[in-house]
Amino acid sequence: MPKKKNKKSSKKTVKGQLGKKKETAREKMIGQTIGYRYDVNLLPDYSRITPFLKKYIEAMGWDDLNWLEDVHMGYEEDRPAVFDRNANGWVTIPKKIKLPNNQQDRDMIARELLVKFQMSPNHPLVDLKKAYRKF
């Protein structure tokens, strides 16, 4: 006798409304709705750190991820994105980058991409610095 397949849930989810969307595993665990586009209180799992981030930490002379502990993968216009505090806007992840299912791994990718973006001569702040820096 072949086993019966589990019935699919017929519950509809409501997008974008606090308290009405489907809860994530993290939200269920902490018993609170996460109103941000990611869990701001999620602590980084250092076992998932990428080689690029290790090199960055070493170059800066720090002991850990430092400010990058607060960087997480969020979303913008239904696409994965990371918030760039220097440009005060969301930066969208290119479609060709495939993201893992684990939030910790996604966060590490977000951190790596954000560092590359912020340190790039193409960053929007470079023009501002050229125009306004005093010394």
Partner: protein, 284 residues
Amino acid sequence: MANIKTNENKTKAQSMGLHSEVLTGKTQQKFFNPDEAENFYYWGTYDVDFNKRIDLDVNDLDCKEANKKIDELMSQGYGTIVIKNPQGKHSLGVGVLNKLNLIFEGSLGYFGVGSIDGPTVRINGRVGWSCAENMMAGKVVIEKNAGSCFGAAVRGGDLICKGSVGARTGIDQKGGTIIVGGDAGAFTGFMMQRGRIIILGNVGINLGDSMYDGTIYVGGKIGSFGSDAIESPMTKSDVDWIKRKLKVAEIGEDFNISNMTKVVAGKKLWNYDALEPTEKKGAI
């Protein structure tokens, strides 16, 4: 009557005439280039060598002259700068956006090392009000005590005081970690929005008052909880992370972390209307 009918589909703010245009937030159509060259430093910052060390006596300099001198030394490639005779001067070491080892042989006044982004700072003395205000990244270690508003509006990095701190520590904190080896005063974590505070000693009254988010860990006694601050269970992830952070902070090696109290926001102050998802774009 007609107005009432047309107002039914509007939010309260729209009905009051507060929004005539569609709110689009601060979204920018910016995309990462994954082939960007590997670079760890901001454009326009100096290439410094941690092994290149110099002493700077600021006894006869005012804060502006001293800060300008620090910038000059970085432009010459000095990666370790030791400041002699700071004598409690205000606003020393502010606005350093470079990787750097900055060591103060003495105490600082108000607003020391504010708005820094990257350096590792060691202060072998005390600090006055609002030390490391608006800090973006880096590590600051204070060997003795700190005044009020320690780490006000910190956005990132590690701010460590091995002694005790005054009132309103981490006020308006927006990220990063504040670690205090001793006690903290009243209103610690007042209106904090995110980030983490670790206090190994006792804290005063109104802990985490009006906090929106973020986490406060307390090792000692709590004077009282502030409005909307509630206790939350410690997880293994919390314990592992604190253990790691205390190692970075060079304090509390034998501290019993599992007995700490974790305080988070009750989120009763989260009063957002239907416009909230749009308004929040770019405003975390």
